[in-house]
Amino acid sequence: MSSEQTNIQEPKYINPYLGGVLLGLLVLATVFITGRGLGASGAVKSAVVTTSNTIAPKATEANAYMCQFLSDGHSPMNTWLVFESLGLLLGGILSGIVFGRMKKFRIDKGPQISNKKRLILALIGGALFGLGSQFGRGCTSGAALSGTATFALGGVIVMFSIFGTGYLVAYFFRKFWI
């Protein structure tokens, strides 16, 4: 790296191939124990259904989508993916502590955009991801990774659609990152 670059020293990450092997073994263990893979967007869906059901129970019951996730016995938060996602957050905190990355709030962004713009884009990107994950029956974890790992056609379709589209549109959004 030449001296005019302002690269700040790379944080201490584990080797990506080691990370990949560990993640692969985790998917394997998850399927072996529970019969299905990992997930993330499902927990947000549970949160949506729960808040909606708290604020407007009648409207939630009448909603053809959300009513599928309601049951008389327990709260919509009482699902496997909510607990797994809680663990996901805890695991992130644990790794952050171990590797010294737990710090006060900060923003990652490309060098050419403002903090405000980055946050607005993160919000829009999140909204699109949330919307897409419902059509896709899962996100990168549940559909693309766990789906493809179990040889599900749907998983492969979602994986190629996400990354293929990413590469197709990346050029138009390059100012946001490079």
């Binding site: 700040i8 663990g87 190629f160």
Partner: protein, 200 residues
């Protein structure tokens, strides 16, 4: 024997404890690999950081080969595990929307949770976006209910579709992954050399 919980080897009461433990491992691996930074993740689309490709594809082939091995030695029956159902049109559209969301937002849902864990404000906004997007989807559901349930092919695997045995797909994915690992090594080096700034 496996899957353990559906077959009653491990009692259903342990379900949520196991969920948290597996989640902790998931979060730890993602954060430790650098997935808590949107800058690292977006790098896969611009060639300056292929950590997403390395971790994702390695995980994919390890899990694929592992599952085949477990099936072969009789520890798990592939016919008993959950196969994600395929909804052809909706899944392509969903993937396209997620792809745009990925480049704009710099995260996917799981990675945004690990970003929040270590204090990334952009990850917080991404997760708020997720909530808004799913809420919006739910409210607007009647508008596209027909499309949402269209193209249902059922719980099909690649083997069901093509008749080609699963190990062949595992081999193909492995070869493609190794080639991609090798090729992107050079791309990354070249792109990083020309970058003015890469701040973590």
């Amino acid at each position: 024997m496996g899957p353990l919980i559906p077959n009653g080897v491990i009692g259903g009461g342990w379900d949520f404890v196991i969920a948290i433990l597996l989640g902790v491992a998931f979060g730890f691996i993602l954060e430790a690999s650098g997935f808590s930074s949107s800058r690292n993740l977006a790098g896969v689309f611009y060639g300056y950081n292929f950590v997403v490709l390395r971790v994702f594809f390695t995980a994919l082939i390890v899990a694929m080969v592992g599952l085949l091995y477990f099936d072969y030695v009789g520890w798990i029956s592939l016919s008993q595990i959950f196969i994600l159902p395929t909804f052809l049109g909706p899944m392509i559209v969903g993937g396209v929307i997620m792809g745009v969301g990925f480049v704009l937002g710099g995260f996917c849902p799981g990675t945004s949770f690990t970003g929040i864990a270590i204090g990334k404000l952009d990850a917080v906004f991404f997760a708020i976006g997720l909530y808004v997007g799913i809420f919006g989807f739910s409210l607007a559901f009647p508008l596209f209910e027909n499309f949402f349930t269209s193209g249902n092919l059922g719980n099909v695997t690649l083997t069901d579709l093509t008749g080609i045995p699963a190990p062949v797909f595992a081999v193909v994915f492995t070869v493609v992954a190794l080639a991609a690992f090798w090729g992107t090594m050079f791309i990354e080096k070249r792109v990083r050399k020309n970058m003015k700034q890469y701040k973590f």
